[in-house]
Symmetry: C2
């Protein structure tokens, strides 16, 4: 008997999403007695001026600046932020505004939630990945050696402001990274979104505002039903069990790839597994693989790397009682979770990834 029943945290979050969201977000952000803005060396240069132009009330707000990059999502940077908050005498009534991509909102949320036992924070994502995924749903954390998000917690921001204005500041690889997650929403829950995108190269897409609003709402829908990832939220892990292993593998080799590249590769493998284990038709699997290949190059891995990848999967947070459990596609727009997959079939999917190109 586990004496702690499942408990769904129903704390409301305010979202403002779409064109001109920044201009409308003033009422979500103001009226705290103290503010602090968290940026990184990229968003300080490219996004902070935009933010302050739209929200002039924050022109004088204290700024804490960290280093950008997934490899900087570590305890040293968390320590730096805790120290800066202490130095600036920030007290419990303050609001911390996290202005950046997924790395920054993950680490910023973790630090805010643990500074003086928790101050309020708001996320203002500046990357496609941040807008459609990382800024929503309360997952915060830092990496720990080769283990992604090994230290962190589930804690919601008070507000999330998603304004596509920041996309103009993005490099191509960061667009592409978020695009993998957009494709994932299509596959697991939003057939219509998939149909908007199917057959297109992401360079030729010109309706990003519409895509962002749609994908962000998909994510919000899932997490408000299952904040603590006991059920349906696990569907979001499609592509991620194998994808995270790829991501950790390249991080460890010190040739990091983007989250999106990793998840794209993971989705190919897991679409293969889906076909073997669910009703997913072979032609549909091929459609999925074709669309991913159209937008993402295959990763440079070889047969010799496979044992290391399997080993990394076993370290995944989603492993329960030592068993590999996957979220798989049943049909377009419909996923299932907690499917136990044999190591043999995982190996077979990696073989497929290595050879079918």
């Amino acid at each position: 008997m586990n004496t702690s029943p499942v408990f769904l945290d129903a704390k409301p979050v305010s979202y403002m999403i779409g064109e001109q969201a920044l201009d409308h977000s003033s009422k979500l952000l103001v009226n705290y007695p103290r503010y602090v803005l968290l940026v990184d060396n990229n968003t300080r240069n490219y996004c902070l001026p935009v933010f302050r132009e739209h929200l002039p009330e924050f022109r004088e707000t204290d700024v804490i600046c960290i280093e950008s990059g997934e490899e900087k999502k570590n305890l040293d940077q968390a320590l730096f932020i805790w120290k800066e908050l202490t130095r600036l005498n920030v007290d419990r009534d303050a609001l911390m505004i996290n202005l950046g991509g997924g790395v920054l909102t993950d680490i910023g949320g973790f630090v805010a939630a643990t500074y003086k036992r928790g101050i309020a924070f708001a996320n203002v994502p500046t990357t496609l990945l941040g807008m459609v995924d990382a800024s929503i749903g309360g997952k915060t954390g830092i990496d720990f050696g080769k283990f992604k998000n090994q230290v962190g917690l589930f804690v919601d921001p008070v507000s999330v402001v998603i304004d596509p204005v920041f996309l103009k500041t993005l490099e191509e690889k960061h667009w592409q990274s978020g695009f993998a997650e957009v494709l994932k929403y299509g596959l697991i829950m939003d057939r219509e979104l998939w149909q908007w995108l199917y057959g297109k190269d992401f360079h030729e897409i010109d309706f990003w505002d519409k895509i962002i609003v749609r994908a962000a709402r998909d994510k919000i829908d899932i997490v408000r039903h299952d904040f603590e990832e006991k059920g349906v939220r696990k569907n979001l892990n499609f592509g991620h069990t194998i994808g995270h292993a790829f991501e950790s593998f390249f991080l460890k080799k010190e040739t990091p790839i983007t989250h999106g590249q990793a998840i794209a590769a993971g989705m190919i493998c897991e679409a293969y597994i889906s076909e073997k284990m669910t009703d997913l038709e072979c032609s549909r699997k091929e459609e999925i693989v074709e669309m991913i290949d159209k937008n993402f190059s295959r990763l440079s891995v070889t047969k010799e790397d496979v044992p290391a990848l399997i080993d990394l999967m076993r370290q995944d947070k989603k492993v329960r009682e030592g068993k590999l459990r996957f979220s798989l596609i049943k049909r377009l727009g419909k996923a299932v979770h907690d499917k136990e997959v044999s190591t043999d079939l995982v190996l077979e999917s990696l073989e497929y990834y290595l050879h079918d190109r």
Copy 2:
């Protein structure tokens, strides 16, 4: 407008308190797929054998051992535990059992709540302070330089097992430390408890089981009404605003005192402030000061230390908008919170502490 309403976390906690609690706690602790026990170098020697004697099902459980002591309640030790959990391949379904005093349950709760975004934990306090205070109410954290509990969060254990059997393992200074908190419950909310104790030296008390059950229930009563410390829970801070400053002051000088010694001194100062600011009668204040002096020696501080103490108070987490707010005694068994106190009156109370002895 703060868009996040006050939210009271109603997750239930199972408590087992009193003689033979350990023997009855099996059903609260078992049925997790994996366990890990956190101890320190003291509780490993003196408490772990007792725990395993009463709960033989944990004889083979993995043990993580940290160093004991308030000055070890730091990020390095948290890092060590995160690393050990990782090395032992502990996954999200595990239960961590924190066997120790307040330092250990504070750090253990923080680490469990942030490992892989949170695993369940149970507290088994082994000190008087742990039994009547630290193990109950979900405050977790680590110190940060001279700032106490600067990093941490509110998160409840799934179970708390409070068995006085461990008191036999205690050194006198640790008994005394918890006794300050017991006296505090009497003053702020439990006149009858105060009357059990008044006039006694803690060495001559022989009904600790009864005291522990009473004081633990007082604490549980408060925190279940106000988990997030928005109101009545603040009453527990009586003696702590000035007490924490004393505690940090001696820690910084590298001559640490116990939490109880610090809080005893803080209660003398804050009883003085209470008399000046509330209806507390002078004779009652003298009764309080007399009882504390009977059980705790005055600390070695001088007039020259006062500015440093005031400075430390300004760093307290309870400071809001730069103002010092106190919880004060209104009459025996009744407290009030959020009383703004002038720096002059705080200075006067420190003068009183230094000279009235």
